[in-house]
Assembly symmetry: C2
Homo-oligomer: 398 residues x 2
């Protein structure tokens, strides 16, 4: 039985000094080059830009969150459209997550806090109860109770119709001790098997399933989880769960996990989108990244900039007085619609005057920036300058 007849992952270039590699990831909605950045249309919309503007800015792949769409408008409505591609008018590859991450992170606290270990608070009321079957939670929109099982998550993702889908896992909180983390990981493995069985039973070739490597901040658990996920017939693998409480710990866990991952499969690092974190991830063999950071930052006035040209900074706030009256674009080398047509002074003014166009123009810039960053990383792998380029970028930030 061919599980993934319409999907392919080919490694086209391998860096000699690091694990960095270029690949081609083929899906029913086209082929993308990796390493790639996946932009977040969390609730089935890129918030301040259209999907057409995403294409114009150079985005190749986006994701939506199963949890949000399950609550509103419901996956049945998306399915009636023929799936997310049709509803959003997005013709390129898409990914959906399993819904698990949001259930647990909303239960425990903020999503980004959870990955990065910043949350220590008590569980909020949205996550009611986890049992072997799945997770009981309450909709924060209308209060109804929902029971998300591995089978249900796959069924929902089938309705959403993204090319790449994720197995359901428990996202272990950062504060969990090793005993809890290990038990949680083992349950995640059982859930991932159930996800796979549900996927395989109804597989029509339109979707490819990723397993998720758990294990928290414990090296030996990460190895066990990577081995387990690698043994199953997943198309790809994602690195999930807590990555620790500091950049150093995150880089360590990513490096350890990547040592044990399947090298022939596409590997996604969930929820990470800082410039230095992407360089580090790629050096360890990560093929794709996602994070709300570039687009959320834009809506709050932050423009992504090259750390090497900006004293190590990854972004600047366009609200700062330094941009008042500054006639040049945000980045005169940037070919995006924002930088080609508008001054820094105009963007500064739009945020000062609370004109929502400011967030839209910065989103276009930040999307173009991330697409170009990924392109630059791929080029450096192809022409043998990856280590040098990464070094120059990271050194500027010391």
């Amino acid at each position: 039985m061919v599980l993934y007849p319409n999907f392919k992952f080919e490694i086209t270039h391998q860096d000699r000094l690091t694990q960095a590699r270029c690949g081609l990831l083929t899906t029913p909605h086209g082929t993308i080059e990796t390493p790639a950045f996946i932009f977040c249309a969390t609730k089935g919309a890129m918030k301040s830009v259209t999907t057409q503007q995403m294409v114009e800015a150079g985005a190749e792949i986006i994701l939506s969150n199963t949890y949000h769409l399950l609550l509103q408008p419901g996956y049945e409505l998306v399915a009636r459209h023929g799936g997310l591609h049709q509803m959003l008018h997005w013709e390129r590859p898409m990914l959906t997550d399993s819904g698990g991450f949001q259930i647990f992170s909303l239960g425990h606290g903020g999503v980004a806090d959870e990955i990065k270990g910043r949350n220590r608070g008590p569980m909020a009321k949205t996550l009611l109860h986890i049992d072997e079957g799945g997770a009981h939670f309450r909709s924060h929109i209308d209060g109804r109770k929902i029971y998300l099982t591995p089978e249900e998550s796959i069924k929902i993702q089938r309705g959403l119709g993204a090319d790449l889908i994720l197995a359901l896992d428990e996202c272990t909180p950062f504060k969990a001790d090793k005993i809890y983390t290990e038990r949680s990981m083992e349950r995640s493995h059982r859930w991932e098997l159930r996800s796979f069985r549900e996927f395989a039973a109804q597989n029509d070739g339109r979707q490819a399933l990723y397993g998720i490597i758990q294990g928290g901040i414990y090296d030996d658990l990460r190895k066990r989880s990577a081995d387990f996920v690698g043994e199953q017939d997943f198309f790809g693998q994602a690195i999930g769960g807590s990555l620790g409480g500091s950049k150093e710990q995150m880089h360590h866990i990513v490096a350890i996990t990547c040592q044990y991952k399947r090298r022939d499969r596409p590997t996604h690092l969930l929820g990470i989108g800082g410039i230095s974190d992407i360089w580090n991830g790629v050096a360890n063999g990560i093929d794709s990244f996602d994070c709300v950071h570039p687009t959320r930052l834009a809506r709050h006035g932050g423009a992504l900039v090259n750390p090497r040209k900006n004293g190590g900074k990854e972004y600047v706030s366009m609200k700062n007085a330094q941009f008042q009256g500054k006639m040049c674009p945000i980045d005169s080398d940037c070919t995006c619609y924002c930088c080609q047509n508008f001054s820094s002074a105009y963007i500064h003014y739009l945020f000062k005057a609370r004109e929502m166009l400011g967030g839209q123009l910065l989103t276009i810039h930040n999307v173009a920036f991330m697409a170009r960053l990924a392109q630059g990383i791929r080029n450096s792998i192809r022409n043998g300058s990856f280590t040098q380029e990464m070094g120059a970028s990271l050194r500027s930030q010391i």
Copy 2:
């Protein structure tokens, strides 16, 4: 001396039964067909859409408000960009108003309320004092005192650089009695003369000045004002001030004023944008209209629709439950980006989920709608069916 070497207004078609006419209005930034609708980039931005999206939706001309730009970011910054066209990246014709209308309407109450006679409240604190020289007011942003004179308004509009600019007038409040309205009108005439002299003294051929016909709701004052404005060397004429407290009164005043206006000059009706009001205005010989209505309505979830296909309604709220699960576009005959690619159900969902993309997509639809309405009106004048088309549209609303 040729005052307007780079401007021209040609009437290309005259309806036989009404005063409706088609024209070509030529400016240094191109020629537009009239009757035309002018979209409001009030503070130098179309809020939820880019100028590129405005062009794609079919907008031919936009306006910005001198009052808003004077307070923030200041006209000097706009001038440093080379004018609004460069700052906003808008290459087609533009109009600015004189700033007077906002000063008085903010002083007296809401802008739309003022034109339509809905405001009876006391003067707010932003308008401090009017004297023969000009208007003293206070910035609602930083509290500084500003003195706007006719000369200053023209100087500011020169810095803003729009193609079509307006003389400074006093926008007489609806509640004013005939004695006040008459005195105010006479002062407006003196201010318009001063505006013209300042304009002519520095005229470099890049801009064309419109006079404004005042006179409130009094037929004889409207005649006197139309005669006065017609005697000056303005390029065009705008109908300003209060248009009364009801649709009937508005249509009466527009009709009366149009009887006495110069027929060889382009005529703009300030602040009016309802579908039936536009048909009525065109029938009286109005060549252009402006109103925030189409774009503001969009941001609040309102989609403009053809009254003849929607039981006389000029718009529907996409938040209404009737659109939940409705798979067809807002208007299957509409060729805009929104209607070509997205379902009513998706737009409904975006507003329910407070996703700002909803406002953006509806803005595109409403702009396309208004551009197509103007196109349809022009076509009906050209092919002799104007009265018939107007009748069908108005009858659907009875």
